[in-house]
């Protein structure tokens, strides 16, 4: 399995990464080296093995439906680059 330049551009778009034009070739090449390594894993016959969600034996904690937290409005809005008294502000998104 390998990826080509076009696929790399697609993945970069999905991940919102802006890869400079001149680096596309280089990154495609190094990613393909990584892919070659991953290929080895595919050599194992897993036909009879059930997919594993996690390697841990532990059980997921479940919490009761209780409100245990309170508003952090001021602190959280203060973290934002742009905000008014109530909302986070982002460059206009129109669909």
């Amino acid at each position: 399995m390998s990826i080509n330049r076009k696929e790399l551009e697609e993945i970069a778009t999905l991940a919102q990464l802006d890869i400079p034009e001149q680096q596309l070739g280089e990154i495609t090449a190094s990613l393909n080296q990584v892919m070659a390594m991953i290929e080895h894993i595919n050599e194992a016959d897993t036909a009879a093995v059930k997919p594993m969600g996690t390697p841990h034996e532990a059980q997921q904690l479940i919490r009761p439906d209780a409100v245990t937290d309170c508003s952090h409005k001021k602190d959280l809005l203060a973290l934002s680059a742009h905000a008014d008294e109530d909302h986070y502000l982002v460059p206009k998104v129109i669909e």
Partner: protein, 481 residues
């Protein structure tokens, strides 16, 4: 020739049901609707690093309960996955959802339309967190983001593409709505977005096996709009296809004002979401004990209620259906039946008749009624015991509403009790017979319809207070002497 002789619609629905939990799906933050913007956002909901999601037990239970209500498989292990996309109201850059191991597997429901019954299969239902809300009309240059909704629990119910017209889609949506509201897992508030639907619509030439290219219509939150939106979209597609053009797989938004759909964005391929198991969470074992505990909570659904009302309580079929399909009215009816010695049939007739008329006149609903179920049952008992007629009961009901007093007190204070004293009735009836000699002759000559004329006269004289059963008996005796 109608276009539906040449074309057929294929519709699948994805319904988002907001679960009525107190706290969010993965955080201990309050999950109520309508709070001041961004006042119900935990560090986790805001996507701050170092926070970890911990699943809400009630959300799991509600999802299981839904699964049981649609006869679905509940797999023994459920796994959360990340659905990755970028949007300002999704702070983490991914939505915690489910992919390969949803909490509810294959199920089905039966829908009813004018064309009869039809089984619609449910592909799956999975738990996921809602996103925040983007407000685009507050500023010219900015979108404003409110994250209160981010992290509130949803189940997304996915149907098979098995509905073949808009009416079936509406019937399906209504049936799911009835189930989730009766289960008590969703408040059912359509305006607040507690129950919203995306419709996948495609068309194909009649008889063709393969599905056509579909368009997804987003965020339909009214039963009326969904029917119009689907019909509109199908016609748009047919028009394109008949002109030799292609359908693009895309997401469209329905504009109710213009009755048209418009393109939102080309639908990304499912793979573009790059789902993978959420490494922050372990798989969750769903034990038989958990499932059985939820089975205990399964309510009686309207269809079962109707059958019980008719067969056990002896209520008329039409009345039974109206009451059973209204969750609040059914609760009131059943509570009154438990309180009162009156026949359930009288209860049903009075509830749908006099009581509903009063509620309408006052502009109130059964949940905001000033007459509670105990007082209502008290009035029913008086009517059933023959203490007052239904006609008088209507005015007593109005008095109860205005004064807040119990039926018995009003009847006593106003002297509204029925005249059941046979000597008094005797005298009255003899008076009516004496006053109407020609009508009496008419009746005795065989015109039996005249009987009701005398009843009317007696009721007029007594302002409706004569005991109807006794009056009828006595009148018969006296007229046939």
């Amino acid at each position: 020739m109608s276009i539906w002789d040449r074309w057929e619609m294929v519709i699948g629905l994805e319904i988002h049901v907001r679960l009525a939990t107190n706290s969010k799906l993965f955080s201990g933050m309050k999950a109520s609707y309508g709070a001041s913007p961004n006042s119900q956002v935990s560090f986790l909901d805001a996507g701050l690093p170092g926070t970890l999601p911990v699943i809400n037990q009630k959300a799991l239970e509600y999802a299981i309960r839904f699964g049981l209500a649609v006869d679905a498989e509940i797999p023994p292990v459920t796994v959360f996955a990340r659905k990755n996309y970028f949007y300002p109201d999704l702070p983490k850059g991914y939505q915690i959802s489910q992919m390969d191991d949803p909490i509810v597997g294959k199920g089905h429901i039966v829908i009813k339309t004018d064309e009869g019954e039809k089984t619609v299969e449910i592909t799956r239902a999975h738990l996921e967190e809602d996103a925040g809300k983007s407000i685009h009309d507050k500023y010219d240059r900015y979108s404003a983001i409110d994250l209160n909704r981010a992290g509130t629990p949803l189940i997304e119910v996915v149907s098979e593409p098995q509905m073949s017209n808009a009416k079936e889609a509406v019937a399906y949506m209504r049936e799911i709505y009835t189930r989730v509201t009766h289960l008590g897992i969703c408040d059912g508030n359509l305006q607040e977005g507690s129950f919203r639907c995306d419709a996948n619509v495609s068309v194909r030439p009649k008889g063709q096996k393969e599905l056509g290219t579909r368009a997804e219509i987003k965020n339909l939150n009214s039963f009326r709009f969904i029917e119009k939106a689907i019909n509109h979209e199908a016609k748009r597609q047919i028009k394109l296809l008949e002109a030799g053009e292609k359908i693009i797989q895309e997401t469209r938004l329905y504009d109710a004002d213009k009755d048209q759909t418009r393109s939102m964005r080309s639908k990304e391929n499912a793979n573009d979401y790059r789902y993978f198991p959420d490494p922050d969470q372990l798989p969750i074992a769903i034990t038989d004990a958990m499932i059985e505990a939820q089975r205990e909570h399964l309510p009686e659904f309207p269809e079962q209620k109707i059958q019980r009302y008719i067969n056990v309580l002896k209520v008329k079929a039409d009345d039974a259906a109206i009451i059973a399909n209204d969750i609040q009215m059914a609760a009131f009816f059943e509570a009154a039946d438990a309180q009162s010695k009156a026949d359930a049939d009288l209860n049903a007739k009075f509830l749908l008749g006099e009581f509903s008329a009063l509620l309408n006149a006052k502009g109130e609903s059964i949940t905001t009624s000033k007459i509670d179920v105990v007082s209502y049952a008290g009035l029913l008992d008086v009517v059933a015991a023959g203490g007052i007629s239904r006609k008088v009961a209507k005015t007593v009901l109005e008095d109860m509403w205005d004064s807040g007093e119990a039926a018995a007190a009003i009847i006593k204070a106003k002297g509204l009790g029925q005249i059941s004293d046979s000597s008094a009735l005797n005298e009255l009836i003899n008076q009516v017979i004496a006053d109407n000699p020609s009508q009496v002759a008419d009746y005795r000559a065989g015109n039996e319809k005249m009987f009701n004329y005398f009843i009317g006269q007696i009721m007029k004289k007594t302002k409706g207070q004569a005991n109807p059963v006794q009056t009828k008996q006595l009148l018969e005796e006296l007229l046939n002497e």
